[in-house]
Symmetry: C2
Subunit: 401 residues, 2 copies
Amino acid sequence: MIRVEEARARILGSLAPTGPETIPLPEGWGRVLAAPVTARLTQPPADMSAMDGYAVRAADATESAVLRVIGSAPAGHPFAGRVGAGEAVRIFTGAPVPAGADGILLQEDAEADGTAVAVRETVRPGRWIRPAGLDFRAGDVLLHPGKRLTARDLGLAAAANHPWLTVHRQPRIGILATGDEIRLPGEPLPAGGIVSSNAHALAALVRAGGGVPLVLPIAADDADAIAMAADSARSCDLVLTTGGASVGEHDLVQQALGPQGFALDFWKIAMRPGKPLIWGRFGDTPLLGLPGNPVSALVCGVLFLQPALSVLSGLPPAPPALQAAVLTAPLPENDRREDYLRATLERGTEGQLLATPADRQDSSMLRILANCHALIRRLPHAAAAKAGDRVEVLELAPLGL
Amino acid sequence: MIRVEEARARILGSLAPTGPETIPLPEGWGRVLAAPVTARLTQPPADMSAMDGYAVRAADATESAVLRVIGSAPAGHPFAGRVGAGEAVRIFTGAPVPAGADGILLQEDAEADGTAVAVRETVRPGRWIRPAGLDFRAGDVLLHPGKRLTARDLGLAAAANHPWLTVHRQPRIGILATGDEIRLPGEPLPAGGIVSSNAHALAALVRAGGGVPLVLPIAADDADAIAMAADSARSCDLVLTTGGASVGEHDLVQQALGPQGFALDFWKIAMRPGKPLIWGRFGDTPLLGLPGNPVSALVCGVLFLQPALSVLSGLPPAPPALQAAVLTAPLPENDRREDYLRATLERGTEGQLLATPADRQDSSMLRILANCHALIRRLPHAAAAKAGDRVEVLELAPLGL
């Protein structure tokens, strides 16, 4: 049995990001950059007015002066002439400052009268002018590879004149649920049968991590059926199996795939829920085998699949982010397996996170998992904890998990 | 000028959730439930073994006893007979416990020899058996309307035998950028022209909030062009405009839409960046007019559009979530406008969030906005703050913003 950290390091260390593809900018949200975004122009392209008012020569625009208005410069319609001594040009926010002018007389500090404008507040040189290149200059690297694109990033890439972006291809994850006893929702259910929840919960986890799920038909507990199904997922960036990973006689995944070229790295991990976890390579395709138990499958998905998706997507390798919380109930000492307890969270009066472990931690109880907010991590051999002690929690819903 | 809280309350108070639609379960991730998910079966359907081992009568299975193995019950293949005195049935995790048995002899506590098995550890009645209905019972309401579905929720809905889900339709948001000076990325740019960043940054914001953006062609600063463009967005759940909202002569949105039946609610808000903010109704369609300035448009998008998308999507109305952080640099006292300062965040040695305001807060500087992590909220008339003081921050990247 290997430890959680080591298992994750071995998984992440053997994965490489997907290759690049070119996509239109509007499809870039949430995608990961594979090439830098470099400014293709200077922004603003010239000195611009930051306000509505009058472009003037500051030396002329002292309090009580009266200037002659020689034209107008709305945004998008630059004034072609030059502002001379005693002259002003009506200007609007975002319009280029005409040649000759070096200050903006604010609209509220001006009194217009036909073609003349009286100055009510002395203008300072450069005030209310955004100089060319204030935001960025042509050639500046604005966004770096390995960044998941936000709405702000897309605005910046658009402003830098990029109609296209080069991003990592979304990782394609084949999902294979195995088990004689499982059926899809809505299908006829045999005696003792269970409706399959893992494949579609894991598919949602793949979407949450920016991947594209490929849900394969359920394979019976039969080596040939499993081998055939897995074979059809060889073109994926990763194959995920669920079920068939335990120590019983029916742990067929390894037996089925061994003759097909499956090379095992490890298959037992010191954690709860989810001891049986297969990691290896099916030909060139990495294969992660999750337990069949729905809670174990999802918790292992959060701890191993999500970071794997990040690496495949082109992000830096990182464990799931843990936060500090305060226990509201005692916990017994832990054994040698790292434990992930289902817990609800609330905010205390000081704004601190309060974590309450669920009464039952049975790994078949999907309803408790769905209604909880977080997992409490208990390290191997952690001492007994009492109410008020600090623990580390992994919040799930904000990640869509 | 009205305050931010009041503006948001007026916006949210006049919106209603979209109607329901039926979608296949695998498309449910991130969608908002419009009808309860009720269990269509009991889970587990019968008493199930939680482990691999032998189903036995606990009264017989005392240490050193030898039991006769009369059959096998893998998952999905229930044993049809009954376990009698001195008998055992080989059983696997997830298989129904045969009639007559009331305990599980764990595999590691058993010594099998042909058709006999020796007990090495006395079995307790009920131990390692998951009783029928442990997770949920037919008829239980498992998920309630108004919940954004996580991967765990989809697993639970699948386990409860739902191939379909009833969710709120994704709100469709028409986005209209106006301005003579703006062009789309990659298009020929006139002198003094600016590449349009707002429409696609806002479209990404709409996606991040679970909506579907409809980006309209850019409208020139011309009342007819604006009216015609807005008219084509009447079937949307909300129309978003950007630009043309300021106090200058070129604030055309109101003038253009007034004759088309636009009913204004308010259009000035006591905040920075983003004072001009239009809210009203264009016929039956709510209309939110954002400033043309890219930073102002995005900040107003975060503060008003995101909560509006939540309400349209069927979620409870709520302001954006703020967190406590510690300032690393002083801030001057604030005037009467609520201020949202761009800031970077890092973690201190105690795990606390440290917020550093950007040196320049000019609302045209998209690059600074993109590279920041959060907005610091400063309430109207907030007193000067020094390094070490507590502030409230709104973190952006985790929301995809």
